[in-house]
């Protein structure tokens, strides 16, 4: 689609692409409402909703009390009325006060009412570390979301995907948790925190159509084709992984999962059967992380094709430390060590 010369594209970073997705949907569907702490006049602490209130009005885009239980609970009620709410939780770390409304209500409403009532809500929330956010502005709670039955979990890794996936999420008739990797809002991250940040404008995926387009949920993207091993990643780690692999000259196949639930199992299976090795990477804590699910699925489906144990590169099982952020982060050294190990035999 992006190669079609008929379509007007604009260079956007992730924030601008996410903003554009909401702008397009507010325009197209009068039932879409955007709400959250500081999202109205101010346009959000990360600027994701900048200009939307001015353009679409206060009843479509508005500030909320600092009350995540209320934000998600109210959105469930709006969905029952027939609106299509897009609440923002300012940091994923703040979602916990709203978790009962998400787990017991939003996720279960279709099932418990046999589709009498549904919850077409998209909860947008920035997640992940690498911005010196300390333990309450850095967490990656994706495996909590994937463990809830009834919620879809989406994580984009670039501006083009972010817009297309967010539009598909907003149009979805089930609740979607849309986790935005805040470290790459302004540019893809190499994993080297001491190097200058490259802006999105130098990346092909910053050419974003200004109008409506969708990227279907549940479809992974192959970021790099290769034969030596399969790397399963999402969000920020897609870019970190790609940098290290290219530095080491490894012919890795990198799959950007994009949607964790429903997962693109076919893409994973096809790739691992081809390469015979699989490395799973995420920034979240290790134990019961989404990597455990991926490793289990790969061994269930590809065991006789594997030439080495499935490896995991993850954050440590500690709260996200403030000053030692880069010792926690699964950066170049941890990834290189794992790559060397998995390719040894």
């Amino acid at each position: 689609m992006s190669t079609d010369t008929q379509i007007a594209t604009k260079t956007m970073n992730m924030i601008e692409a996410i903003n554009s997705a909401m702008d397009v949907m507010l325009e197209r569907d009068s039932n879409v409402v955007v709400m959250g702490e500081d999202v109205g006049f101010f346009g959000g602490v990360f600027r994701a909703t900048a200009g939307l209130q001015k353009k679409h009005g206060k009843t479509r885009v508005f500030d909320t009390p600092i009350n995540e239980c209320g934000i998600i609970g109210v959105a469930v009620g709006m969905g029952a009325y027939g609106l299509r709410p897009v609440p923002e939780i300012q940091f994923a770390d703040y979602i916990y006060p709203g978790l009962d409304q998400l787990v017991s209500e939003a996720a279960r409403l279709r099932y418990r009412s046999a589709a009498d009532f549904v919850c077409p809500m998209t909860v947008r929330t920035p997640f992940g570390g690498g911005i010196f956010g300390g333990q309450t502005h850095s967490q990656s709670p994706e495996s909590i979301m994937t463990h809830i039955c009834g919620v879809k979990t989406v994580i984009p890794s670039n501006p083009y995907d972010a817009k297309g996936l967010l539009i598909a999420a907003i149009e979805d008739n089930d609740p979607v948790v849309f986790l935005e990797p805040k470290r790459i809002y302004n540019g893809p991250f190499s994993g080297y925190y001491d190097r200058p940040v490259e802006p999105w404008s130098k990346h092909a995926a910053s050419a974003v159509p200004e109008d409506y387009y969708r990227i279907e949920l549940g479809k992974a993207a192959t970021v790099r084709e290769g034969e030596a091993l399969t790397i399963l990643a999402y969000g920020t780690m897609v870019h970190v992984t790609k940098t290290i692999v290219e530095e080491m000259g490894i012919d890795a196949e990198i799959i950007d999962l994009r949607t964790l639930l429903p997962l693109d199992i076919d893409a994973i299976e096809t790739s691992v059967k081809k390469t015979g090795r699989c490395l799973v990477i995420h920034e979240a804590t290790r134990t019961s992380g989404f990597g455990a699910e991926l490793a289990a699925l790969v061994q269930e489906r590809c065991f006789y094709h594997l030439e080495a144990p499935v490896e995991r590169v993850t954050g440590f099982d500690t709260p996200y430390p403030h000053s030692l952020e880069w010792a926690y982060f699964p950066g170049p050294v941890r990834i290189a060590t794992a790559l060397t190990k998995i390719l040894k035999d």
Binding site: V33, T59, R60, T64, P65, N67, C69, G70, I72, G73, V74, A75, V76, G77, M78, G79, A80, Y81, G82, L83, P85, P97, D100, Q101, S104, E105, L109, R110, Y111, R112, S113, A114, A115, D116, F117, V118, C149, G150, K152, D172, N173, D174, G218, L261, P262, L263, I265
Partner: protein
């Protein structure tokens, strides 16, 4: 903590922790003589546009209409037609007949669970009758009166209670957790007070669309302690949402008396004061007071004058549910000495005072409604009862998790169907 934690030199008195305790336990002789019963016409009825801070006394008083002799009095008298009063009585009697029958069905092993609302019928029946048909109700678990007052088919309620093949929720929900969108009745959750912010969201949506419909929501005094309750009141006051909050203060949350929700310190209606919204404390056993208060709050909401919190002061006459035995924690005679009597008796007395009703008609109606419930029950039981055969195709377990079934659920469904075949053979069908 070490014993010597307090400095021995301290001359401060030791702190003490207060653990609330109800005044009466089994074996005690309860006395409700200290409950203040204001005169029936003592409470002023302010205009629906009155600012909340000018009517705070209503959070601490008690709106009443019916005196204990069956006369409707005072400014709050909704002056309902006699036919409407008879309809209200009929609905409340039908709720009670339904409750008695379904409680018995649970005891007979026909279902797993049931919850009666005995003594609290007015808090849902009369309030629903004061709403418009299009207004949306977000019930807790003891508001079967809403469905009855909106003429929801009894058989559908029973089918849900039995999880039988007529249950449109396909046996997924615990008995009584109905869902009836066509009757303006939101899906009942098993988690408490979660419906509170949802009702506010529905009301906000209605307001943002320029609709004229309002939302109403119920919880018990016990679950008013939940964070969701306070989230809801915060959002409602911030956005001036057209919503009516009902707190059914029936004194008991399973075995915990209202003191564990803060009832020793103030009224539940007074929660409204801190949020700057209108609050009314009413006699929840007085159907006309319930009707009048709801009508007032509905008019207020509908004219963009904002939300109202109504505390229905009432008493849970029976156990929390079929799983509860209240004689284990409170005196058995408490319900019988409740100073505000029984809502059905009180409306009956009022109609008799008006010359619109008598003992003979009452008895005839009671029998007629019992028969209606019994007949309907027989029809429902033809569609199955819980635990006697399985009534839904197994694959329905996997439907409606999402709009479309993703691959992992399809795989698990296939696995389950194989288990079904291994257990029951290839020809098994739901009963």
């Amino acid at each position: 903590m070490p014993e010597t934690d307090r400095s021995p030199a301290s001359n401060l008195p030791p702190l003490s922790l207060h653990i609330p305790e109800p005044r009466y336990r089994p074996g005690d002789t309860p006395d409700f003589g200290d409950i203040v019963v204001p005169a029936v016409d003592a409470t002023q009825r302010p205009s629906e546009a009155t600012k909340p801070d000018a009517m705070r006394d209503l959070c601490y008083g008690l709106v009443r209409v019916l005196d204990f002799d069956g006369q409707a009095k005072g400014q709050w008298d909704p002056k309902l037609s006699r036919e409407r009063l008879r309809t209200m009585l009929r609905y409340m009697m039908l709720v009670r007949a339904f409750d008695d029958r379904m409680f018995r069905a649970q005891r007979q092993g026909k279902t797993s669970f049931y919850m009666k609302c005995t003594g609290e019928e007015a808090t849902s029946v009369a309030s629903t009758m004061a709403l418009d048909r299009g207004d949306m109700c977000f019930p807790s678990y003891r508001q079967q009166g809403i469905l009855i007052a909106r003429d929801y088919p009894l058989i559908q309620m029973m089918n849900q209670i039995y999880s039988n093949r007529g249950d449109h929720l396909m046996g997924r929900q615990l008995p009584i957790m109905y869902s009836a969108p066509e009757h303006g009745f939101f899906s009942v959750s098993g988690n408490l007070a979660t419906q509170y912010p949802q009702a506010v969201g529905w009301a906000m949506a209605s307001a943002s669309k320029g609709d004229s419909r309002i939302a109403t929501v119920w919880c018990g005094e016990g679950s008013s302690a939940e964070g969701d309750f306070h989230s809801a009141l915060t959002f409602a006051t911030v956005y001036n949402a057209p919503v009516i909050f009902n707190v059914v203060n029936n004194q008991w949350a399973i075995s915990s008396f209202s003191g564990f929700a803060g009832g020793e310190r103030t009224t539940f209606a007074a929660r409204a004061v801190g949020y700057g919204i209108a609050g009314l404390r009413i006699d929840g056993n007085d159907p006309l007071a319930v009707y009048a208060a709801t009508q007032w709050a509905a008019d207020r909401a509908r004219t963009n004058n904002g939300p109202t919190l109504i505390e229905h002061f009432t008493y849970r006459s029976e156990g929390h549910s079929t799983s509860d035995d209240p004689t284990a924690y409170r005196p058995a005679e408490e319900p019988t000495i409740w100073p505000f009597g029984d809502p059905i008796d009180r409306l009956r007395q009022h109609l008799e005072t008006l010359g619109e009703w008598d003992g003979e008609r009452h008895e005839a109606q009671r029998i007629e409604l019992e028969d209606l419930v019994k007949t309907t029950q027989k029809q429902s039981e033809k569609l199955g009862i819980l635990g006697h055969g399985m009534h839904q195709p197994f694959e329905t377990m996997f439907q409606d998790v999402f709009e479309d079934m993703p691959w992992h659920l399809q795989e698990q469904c296939t696995q389950m169907l194989a288990e079904q075949e291994a257990k029951f053979g290839p020809d098994w069908k739901p009963e």
